[in-house]
């Protein structure tokens, strides 16, 4: 019954004997992550002061608490040798699938979809954690299959393992997260060395499915996407003025960012202050940054993401084993794709998918999971450093 155990129990067991040293942390990555979360709190303080009458610090305090808990979790994860998770892949995968199913059955509904589980003081969004759990489990499954050879069968299996949670999340419905999971799966497959022709086949299948879902099925009267999803995916191509329309949000967000010009409007940021910008503390926080702090602020934030992604990609070759490479690749793909989807939506070049901006958007699940993901990256970094030191130095036991 390993699958039912909480994650931390095996973690603690694995931690035994793991050498943990703050000196082996990737300081640059750490700085980028801390910079982003600090910028998030800074922006929320300015932009949400009037959102909840009487408590100007409502979002700031909560985001601060999430950040603190997240940092603690990050350190906890970082000191575990990620390689030990490989053995737990079935358990981790089962927990992930179970938590998503739990939401489908018991989840709290908001705006027509069930994405959360109500906990005391906290609304937990299992699909956020699912992304991370999938990365850890999928990377392990990939290595299992690689040992048996890179044939069609194993490629299809890996795809199935990755796309099963994507399908479940899609049913919530949460199209954005389903897409992120899909991208994670593809990234891990790609890095695991799956032959190009397999990828060509997958690419063809994706194109066919997209065509069926967006064009053929609705034309045939069998909608696969909900109306609002269909509209969101296409509306950024044909904007309108209806405030209830998602293209209105895209337009307001572009106006906000554009109006920020080079150095921002500070407290004159009317798009945010006067609520023209919807969801300004979550999905559209990048537009808030763009309007308040201008190109300087927005480019600074993007640079922090670039730094973060660069440090993650660096681990692909730096990692002590393929498992670490695949995990780092999955996390890098996750961060990269979320930043691209969210910022792209804010900039009006991507559809509205409801994806959060990691570490920047207000929200506990997203902050905790992203920090845990960075903890994993740190673990890979630490382990690589340790291994490298071990290989340079003679047997440490002899020291």
């Amino acid at each position: 019954m390993e699958a039912a155990r909480p994650l931390t129990l095996p973690g603690r067991r694995i931690a035994v004997g793991t050498r943990f040293n703050l000196a082996y942390f990737d300081g640059v990555m750490m700085a980028a992550a801390l910079g982003l979360i600090a910028f998030s709190i800074f922006t929320l303080a300015a932009a949400t002061a009037d959102d909840i009458p009487g408590s100007p610090l409502y979002f700031v305090l909560r985001q601060g608490i999430y950040a603190l808990i997240g940092l603690v979790l990050m350190f906890a994860v970082a000191r575990v040798d990620y390689s030990r998770f490989r053995e737990l892949r079935v358990g981790i995968y089962s927990i992930m699938i179970a938590s998503i199913c739990l939401v489908l059955v018991f989840g709290a509904a908001a705006r027509g979809s069930r994405r959360w589980i109500e906990l005391p003081y906290f609304r937990f969004q299992p699909s956020e954690l699912a992304k991370l759990l999938l990365i850890v489990a999928l990377a392990a499954f990939v290595i299992e299959h690689r040992r048996r050879g890179g044939d069609w069968r194993s490629t299809v299996r890996i795809l199935a393992i990755g796309l099963a949670p994507a399908a479940l999340v899609f049913l919530q419905p949460d199209l954005g997260t389903a897409l992120v999971i899909g991208v994670i799966t593809l990234a891990i497959l790609f890095l695991s060395g799956v032959p190009w022709k397999h990828f060509a086949a997958i690419g063809g299948a994706v194109a066919a499915i997209a065509a069926i879902a967006l064009v053929l099925a609705p034309a045939a009267g069998v909608p696969i996407l909900k109306d609002y999803q269909q509209e969101r995916l296409t509306s950024f191509l044909n904007p309108s003025d209806d405030p209830t329309d998602s293209s209105y949000q895209l337009r307001q967000s572009q106006i906000a960012i554009g109006a920020g010009e080079k150095s921002g409007r500070g407290d004159q940021a009317s798009q945010t202050e006067l609520n023209f910008l919807p969801e300004h503390h979550t999905d559209f926080i990048f537009a808030v940054i763009g309007e308040r702090y201008g190109f300087l602020g927005a480019a600074f934030v993007l640079s922090l993401y670039a730094l973060l992604v660069w440090r993650a990609l660096r681990l692909l070759t730096f990692s002590k084993n393929l498992y670490g490479t695949l995990i780092a690749g999955g996390i890098a793909a996750m961060l990269m794709f979320q930043v691209f989807l969210n910022v792209g939506m804010n900039l009006g070049i991507m559809p509205v998918t409801g994806i959060t901006l990691p570490l920047m958007s207000y929200g506990g699940s997203s902050v905790l999971v992203t920090l845990m993901a960075i903890g994993l990256l740190q673990s890979i970094h630490i382990q690589a450093q340790l291994a490298s030191r071990d290989s340079r130095a003679p047997n440490p036991l002899l020291r």
Binding site: G193, G258, L274, A299, N321, G348
Partner: protein, 634 residues
């Protein structure tokens, strides 16, 4: 540097991995580049545009109506000014678009305004069609209770505000009702005219009367207020706007007291009629009224169709009609002054030539007999006797002799036209009627068109000579004609406004229209006529002596009693009374013309109304010279 530490990896696999890592890195660089470039494009390259869009988003410009200028009487007494009211205004764009939310707001509005939701929708739709962004004033004159209710429940009424609106305030009640006209929202058709080029939907303009005629001075210049609003249209703060510029005041030539005296005297008969009192030298209208009258304030509220019908229906004698400029009446004997002028100028008769009046006139070769009113017989008389006693036979003879049975007729038609009949007077009020001077050409054309049963005959000219038959004129035209006799031939251009002043009373512009033209009234003829009508008013036996005989100011005046034929059902219509006076007779300052439909003898109704006006003008009481009932006939 590729430092893969895994013992599981073969060199071939490592090479493949590093290729794929390179690809993933390349994709990342590409994605970041796209995002950076887009950010650069939005913020640095097109930032100005978006900054403007953001400002458009938050700033709502609302037109602020300008208070209209006042209308003053000649002494500066305020006749029409403004009252501010609170109006319920809706910005259609800010209402919920459709569905249950909109229904709920409309239900709420319905409760506040007493209008049905359908009516509210249709009013909004009407404005939207013309100007989609204009706010709609749904109701004026909201009570304090409703204002507080709306303010307290502002969140239940998105897009609904309470605004200050201006309403015309008629300080003198119904006095001058026919002069001012009403104001109203500029119509879609009007907005296409150059006259209204600076206006927008929702602005208020004069739609009739003085308000229409002098609108360009009165209307002022609307300003704008700029308000910051949030995404739901809720106001968040004021920005600098353009203040509205109040309209200028128009000072009339009207004397409010004289106007009140005239309206009072005319109204006391309870019959339809009209009066004009005018400066005989320059055409300044001192008083001009029509009966029945109406409350001009009725147009400041929304008026129902039945109310409007009541104002224009024939059964109610159409109170809205201004009979002083829109009446088209035969004038009766007051026309004799024109016949006299024509006959003397045309050499048909001399002032002293004696004509025998046996009480009846029969044209040679005609079987018809034209009689004096009341079968009076005046015997041998000259022209000024004939004017004094108003002999019809004397003028029948002139009418017969002056007849030219072709074209525009003879001297009578010619002088009627010279003195301003049959043409617009040019007064500064819209919608005057020009009336008709009947001529052979006119009647024969009607006959050819089969609109009448006969051609022109000498009888038509005989009728015209005493102001009967097809002649159509209004009191203002008759006042102008008499003024020309009184002042020696100046055809004045009557006007109601004498100047424009700023809000602070500073004169900005004088209004002094030049006379229309000068006509050559032979001095001898003028003297004869003035003597004749002066004797009619001031000498025992004169037609209006009973009314004016005791007046300290000598009056030259002529009575008229016009026959109005029969109704459609064949009942005789009572005669229409007329009176025109010039005073003082030696050098007339003022001309007064009065007519009363169904008023009977001119001396009995129209002359007394004239007397009340002259009393007020000269501030001298008039007592009857002879007990009423003994009035001379015409």
């Amino acid at each position: 540097m590729y430092r893969h530490r895994s013992g599981e990896e073969t060199p071939a696999r490592s090479a493949r991995l590093s290729r794929r890592v390179a690809i993933v890195t390349g994709i990342s660089v590409a994605i970041f580049s796209v995002v950076f470039l887009r950010l650069w494009y939005l913020q640095v390259l097109s930032g100005d545009e978006y900054r403007e869009l953001a400002n458009d988003n938050r700033v709502r410009e609302v037109r602020v109506p300008a208070p209209r200028g006042d209308i003053l009487d000649r002494d500066g007494k305020v006749l029409v000014t403004n009252r501010t009211q609170l109006g319920l205004q809706v910005v259609p764009d800010d209402l919920p678009k459709a569905g249950a939310d909109r229904k709920q707001v409309l239900r709420g509005l319905s409760a506040v305004t007493g209008m049905t939701p359908q009516r509210i929708e249709s009013e909004i739709e009407e404005v939207r069609r013309i100007s989609p962004t204009s706010p709609v004033i749904l109701k004026r004159g909201l009570g304090a209770g409703k204002v507080f209710f709306l303010r307290e429940n502002q969140n239940r009424f998105p897009g609904v505000t309470v605004e200050r609106v201006f309403t015309r305030d008629y300080r003198q009640g119904t006095i001058g009702a026919h002069l001012f006209g009403n104001v109203g929202e500029v119509t879609a058709e009007q907005l296409k005219l150059p006259r209204y080029s600076s206006l927008e939907q929702g602005d208020t303009v004069g739609q009739s009367g003085i308000e229409y005629e002098y609108d360009r001075f009165l209307r002022g210049k609307p300003g704008s207020s700029r308000t910051t609003v949030d995404a739901l249209g809720r106001p968040k703060g004021e920005l600098r706007g353009e203040p509205a510029r109040a309209g200028d005041s128009v000072r009339l030539t009207i004397d409010a007291d004289l106007q009140a005296a005239g309206e009072g005297a005319l109204g006391s008969f309870g019959l339809p009629g009209a009066f004009v009192a005018m400066d005989a030298d320059n055409g300044e209208v001192l008083a001009l009224g029509s009966s029945p009258t109406f409350d001009p304030a009725i147009f400041t509220r929304s008026i129902t169709e039945s109310q409007y019908k009541a104002l224009v229906s024939r059964e109610n004698d159409a109170p809205l009609a201004n009979r002083a400029i829109q009446g088209a009446y035969p004038t009766g004997s007051i026309f004799k002054v024109i016949t006299a002028t024509a006959a003397l100028d045309g050499g048909l008769i001399t002032p002293e030539e004696i004509v025998n009046d046996p009480g009846v006139f029969q044209a040679p070769g005609d079987t018809r007999k034209f009689k004096n009113a009341g079968d009076a017989v005046f015997g041998p008389i000259n022209m000024n006797d004939a004017l004094k006693v108003s002999s019809d036979v004397y003028f029948y003879k002139l009418g017969f002799e002056a007849d030219v049975p072709k074209g525009r007729g003879g001297v009578i038609q010619e002088w009627a036209s010279r003195l301003g009949l049959g043409e617009p007077t040019g007064i500064d009020l819209p919608a005057e009627t020009e009336g008709l001077v009947p001529s052979p050409a006119w009647r024969n054309r009607l006959f050819r068109q089969k609109l009448t049963d006969r051609r022109w005959t000498a009888g038509d000219n005989i009728n015209l000579s005493v102001g009967q038959g097809d002649l159509q004129a209004n009191p203002l035209q008759m006042a102008i004609a008499y003024a020309a006799i009184g002042n020696g031939g100046t055809i004045v251009r009557p006007h109601l406004a004498q100047g424009v002043e700023s809000v602070t009373g500073e004169p900005l512009q004088d209004i002094e229209p030049a006379p229309k033209r000068q006509v050559e009234v032979p001095e001898a003829a003028r003297q004869t006529i003035m003597t004749g009508i002066r004797r009619a008013a001031m000498e025992e036996g004169g037609t209006s002596y009973p009314v004016f005989g005791n007046f300290k100011v000598p009056v030259a005046g002529k009575t008229g009693t016009a026959e109005r034929g029969v109704t459609e059902s064949g009942l005789p219509i009572p005669d229409q009374a007329w009176y025109v006076a010039l005073a003082p007779a030696d050098d007339p300052e003022i001309v007064v013309a009065v007519t009363i439909e169904r008023g009977g003898f001119g001396a009995d109704s129209a002359a007394p109304v004239t007397a009340r006006i002259l009393e007020q003008y000269f501030e001298q009481p008039i007592t009857p010279a002879v007990a009423t009932g003994q009035a001379a006939t015409e």
